[in-house]
């Protein structure tokens, strides 16, 4: 154990956790209003990454364009594209099942997930796996602050994530639609009796959650250059789901804290010298939290997840 390395590893963990938190928000918001896990959420994240790839590598000429503008355009296209995808999934797959048993919706969610993955396989083609070129990322220079080396792009990811989360917090607590969302989350039936257009609120929830996942996909793919494939969202999706459960599913600040804990835990396991077990952290964490505190850190009621 190298204690001098701990601050560096914590910083890496927080950067990693920020993206998990961004995806976890989508899980938790949807659960909040509809009480079901949208298993297709990780695949929305994948589509966000692909949209960023097509925007930067094919649709726009990255050599003649201002790189900051290009990054912004990528972010907007990913978010808007994913929001549209989320809205259509909700409208076509979940809304017709509003009164159906929960298990039917859950199975549909798995079906939607497979549909997006294999649809992606059809449209994006799997080989060779593309990745976003480094010259798209203008923030990639390392910065050294007091012995901790940071990558500018990771700082940017952290910054954008914080801005998006602050925006979400403001939206949920200070706007009329946000209040309606909280009301629906509190009691679906009563909210609808009080004249709230529940379908509209649910649609907005899906749109926002998917847009956040799209932003996460765009930022991660651009910052670290992983080759993309249609199953790109599977593992981050599962990890973000665990993060949402850890924080208390349905609880928005809980998802953020859960995501950060997840990122830091993963980094610390590597710091301890068990790099190959990084992916196992999520599942061990899920088992432990379900055994000890099934409601999660901030969850108020015990829900069956």
């Amino acid at each position: 154990m190298n204690w001098d390395l701990l601050p560096q590893q914590l910083v890496i963990g927080i950067q990693l956790g920020a993206v998990y938190a961004l995806i976890a928000l989508g899980y938790t918001m949807v659960y909040g209003v509809l009480r079901f896990i949208n298993f297709a959420h990780g695949d929305v994240y994948m589509v966000g990454a692909y949209l960023a790839y097509y925007t930067s590598m094919q649709w726009f000429d990255r050599n003649s364009m201002n790189p900051y503008v290009l990054l912004f355009v990528m972010l907007i296209i990913s978010m808007v594209g994913c929001a549209i995808l989320g809205l259509s999934v909700e409208r076509l797959a979940y809304r017709p099942l509003r009164t159906a048993p929960k298990i039917a919706v859950l199975i549909t969610a798995i079906g939607v997930s497979l549909f997006i993955e294999y649809g992606g396989k059809f449209f994006f083609k799997t080989s060779p796996k593309p990745s976003i070129s480094q010259d798209v990322n203008v923030f990639s220079k390392p910065i050294n602050i007091g012995g901790i080396t940071l990558d500018g792009s990771q700082l940017t990811v952290l910054g954008v994530t914080l801005v998006l989360m602050a925006g979400l917090w403001f939206f949920v607590t200070h706007t009329k639609t946000g209040r309606a969302m909280r009301a629906v989350s509190h009691d679906f039936g009563a909210a609808s009796l009080m004249g709230i257009n529940v379908n509209r609120v649910v649609a907005i929830t899906f749109g926002i959650g998917s847009a956040l996942a799209g932003a996460g996909g765009m930022m991660n793919a651009t910052a670290i250059g992983t080759p993309l494939d249609p199953f790109y969202g599977l593992v981050p999706g599962v990890k973000a789901f665990v993060a949402a459960v850890l924080g208390g599913i349905g609880n928005i600040p809980g998802a953020v804290v859960g995501g950060l804990i997840m990122g830091v835990m993963e980094t610390l396991i590597v710091w301890l010298g068990y790099g190959g077990y990084k992916d196992a952290v999520a599942f061990v964490l899920l088992i432990v939290i379900l055994l000890i505190k099934p409601s999660g850190l901030f969850g108020s009621t015990v829900e069956k997840v």
Partner: protein, 411 residues
């Protein structure tokens, strides 16, 4: 009727056989790195085998024409087609034409098995070429051994591929040599004294290659200061890289596939770990340049050959390939398959009996065959003792820097 019954019985036997082998072969891949001084698994097959009938010699190729490894399958298919076209244009072998039958493996191990069964059982080929991936070659090798048909593997570097029986050969080097060669290059040419090793724990290719590299580098007098792991599919490697950076290595050996090496290279740079990166033939893809960005530039990896080499075989191959297919000969897999086919033809020329069984011994006698990917001499262990070519990663592509002649490393 009787024949088909027998065949299906045989198929059932083989399913049972294949079902229990992977375990053994898996442990072999990681533990056996002795360099082939003793001959493991080179039994002579018992079956009668196929024989050439009529005026055509049937040869099979198994390749991943679909699935994730499709680019390698495509290169492989082109290489084989080119070789067959050339030999037939030159009059065939002793007056007999070559007929190439291509079967798709779908990038899956099961596909490798069924494709080989079809080629051997239905088409009655006298030799099978392929595959690129070790995992797909293993079941194919078992089918070939059962039926006494020679298999010439193309890019399968896992050590236990040629330990499936005496009928399996390969035209590429093994991971035993590749790892030792890179250790030698790191220590003697790049003068790196302290290395860090980053391994893909999920990939037998990577664990085996790392193991050999560590042993070889230590035996040269070098020091391994850090050994870290990840799993293919991971996307963030900064925690491992931070651990490695704290140990101040002179270089970083990454034995995984380019899919992860690219992001590792980029993240290494973002952490300020400015040391050269080294690796094996799993790096061979242009995609590495995009995913690795500036981080991968200046890295070195072992490969089989390079299209810019100044040998007549390479020049002819590159020209003819371009003429026929309109593109540059992509990965080393095109050349390796071309060589595998050529080795097969050479053996057929020296084999008057023209049966699959006599072909096995003819292939094992191949010496100093001038292939595109280098001189091929089939050793008693079925492996080609070939040099490795170290390539340097530049911004626009890969440039050859040094050829390392074959040597035997005993770990």
């Amino acid at each position: 009727m009787k024949k088909s019954l027998l065949l299906s019985a045989l198929a059932v036997c083989m399913i049972g056989f294949a079902g229990c082998t992977p375990k053994g072969s898996d442990s072999g891949s990681t533990s056996n790195s002795s360099g082939g001084s003793e001959l493991v698994g080179r039994e002579t097959p018992d079956a009668e085998g196929n024989k050439v009938e009529g005026d055509t010699i049937k040869i099979g190729l198994i390749a991943s024409l679909n699935g994730e490894q499709q680019p390698w399958g495509k290169d492989s298919e082109n290489g084989a087609k080119l070789a067959v076209e050339e030999i037939n244009a030159a009059g065939g072998i002793n007056g007999k034409k070559i007929e190439l039958i291509i079967e798709d493996t779908g990038s899956k191990a099961e596909g490798g098995k069924s494709a080989t069964e079809k080629l051997v059982g239905e088409d009655k080929v006298v030799a099978v070429l392929g595959e690129v991936a070790s995992g797909i070659t293993l079941p194919a090798a078992q089918v070939c051994q059962e039926n006494a048909v020679p298999l010439i593997a193309v890019g399968a570097t896992r050590i236990d591929v040629t330990q499936q029986g005496g009928s399996t050969f390969r035209v590429c080097y093994t991971d035993d040599f590749q790892g030792a060669a890179m250790a030698k290059y790191a220590y003697e040419d790049l003068k790196l004294k302290k290395m860090a090793v980053l391994t893909d724990r999920k990939l037998p290719y990577s664990t085996g290659l790392s193991e050999v590299f560590v042993k070889a580098f230590k035996s040269l007098g070098g020091e391994i200061v850090a050994e870290e792991n990840y799993e293919s599919g991971n996307i963030d490697f900064k925690a491992q890289l931070a651990n490695i950076k704290a140990k101040n290595p002179d270089g970083l050996f990454c034995s995984g596939y380019f899919t992860e090496v690219g992001p590792i290279a980029r993240q290494r740079q973002s952490l300020g770990l400015n040391v050269p990166m080294l690796g094996g033939d799993g790096w061979d893809s242009k995609d590495l340049l995009d995913s690795g960005g500036e981080g991968i530039v200046g890295g070195y990896f072992a490969n089989h050959y390079h299209i810019s080499e100044d040998r007549q075989e390479v020049k002819d191959f590159v020209d003819n390939y371009k003429k026929k297919f309109g593109t540059d000969a992509g990965t080393a897999m095109a050349a390796l398959t071309y060589d595998a086919a050529k080795v097969c033809f050479e053996a057929l020329k020296n084999d008057p009996e023209l049966t699959s069984k006599s072909l096995i011994s003819a292939i094992s006698k191949i010496k100093d065959f001038k292939g595109v990917s280098g001189n091929i001499t089939i050793g008693p262990d079925g492996n080609a003792q070939k040099p490795a070519l170290v390539l340097k990663v530049e911004k626009t592509g890969f440039v050859p820097v040094k050829q390392i002649p074959f040597f035997e490393f005993k770990g």
